[in-house]
């Protein structure tokens, strides 16, 4: 592991983090550079300490599920003293996959990529013109 590679920490409610990394591994065959943390049973202090240990002093991106969740607040608190740490709220698989394949880039470029890859796609048939063949 190079010190310049951006570390990804995925923090979620319940078993979301492990579940998403399991999906990433199934798709790519690897989960290198991504570490899951679940918030169950942790005090805010313990959660922040766990994040601090995993992010280290190098460049990192913390992915969380909810912007108003305890995971996000712990990450924001840590970010207050970590200049090389970015926080992404509303994690999804396309974002994580993009991160995995580009985490050797400088942190700023990784962030710029994530900003432009919102990863949400909403598809809806228009009236009388079904987008789904055969409907």
């Amino acid at each position: 592991m190079s010190n310049n590679e951006v570390q990804g920490i995925l923090v979620g409610h319940g078993k979301l983090a492990e579940g998403m990394l399991n999906a990433i591994e199934e798709i790519t065959g690897s989960r290198e550079g991504l570490y899951p943390v679940d918030n169950q049973g942790l005090t805010p202090e313990a959660l922040e300490k766990r994040l601090s240990e995993l992010t280290g002093e190098g460049p990192s991106v913390v992915f969380v599920d909810l912007p108003s969740g305890s995971c996000a607040f712990a990450a924001r608190r840590l970010q207050h003293r970590r200049s090389r740490m970015a926080l992404v709220c509303g994690v999804n698989l396309p974002l994580l996959l993009d991160f995995m394949f580009h985490r050797t880039l400088p942190l700023e470029e990784v962030i710029e990529r994530l900003r432009s890859h919102v990863g949400i796609s909403i598809e809806q048939p228009t009236d009388g013109d079904s987008a789904v063949p055969g409907r």
Partner: protein, 163 residues
């Protein structure tokens, strides 16, 4: 009355509060009563950054809260009072400003000296002393992490065995 619930939760503002209870109660504001946070602007910004636009957050110390809670209770805005520990909530209850208001024990997590009573509630000797003092006030105390969970009244909670 527009103080809908008071909650003790060491995570303060977080998912269960904002999404779970916030949506259930239709909250306009969350009042965090905490002497330390009321003095820390950057930490208040941090919480404001994570809240949905339709829910306001207010941060006040215990002394100021004791004056404000009756005013909030008489107001039409729908609010939720939050403390990170039992001592703060007990202090408000003993001042009589939480009479007949429901106090919800929503999250006290594992720490040295505490033992598990419920998955979301770990209590130590000091916590039990605080609960005993709370029992003598006119507040209604129960444990319930999310709205869909069973509400456990204080009397029943104190009889549960620690693990």
């Amino acid at each position: 009355m527009a103080i809908l619930l008071c909650r003790v939760d060491d995570r303060l503002i977080h998912g269960q509060v904002v999404v779970g209870w916030g949506a259930h109660l239709g909250l306009d504001f969350i009042a965090v009563v905490d002497d330390e946070l009321s003095q820390s602007e950057w930490e208040q910004d941090l919480y404001h950054a994570g809240l949905p636009e339709d829910i306001d957050a207010r941060f006040v110390g215990v002394e100021k809260a004791a004056h404000l809670i009756p005013k909030w209770a008489a107001n039409a805005e729908r609010g939720f009072v939050l403390t990170r520990d039992l001592a703060t909530m007990r202090s408000l209850a003993e001042q009589g400003v939480l009479d007949d208001i429901e106090i919800n024990l929503g999250g006290l997590h594992d720490a040295p000296g505490r033992r598990r009573v419920l998955p979301y509630l770990f209590l130590g000797v000091e916590d039990r002393e605080e609960l005993d003092r709370l029992r003598r006030t006119r507040a209604e105390v129960s444990a319930q992490d999310v709205p869909s969970a069973r509400k456990i009244r204080l009397e029943e909670l104190l009889k549960l065995k620690s693990e």
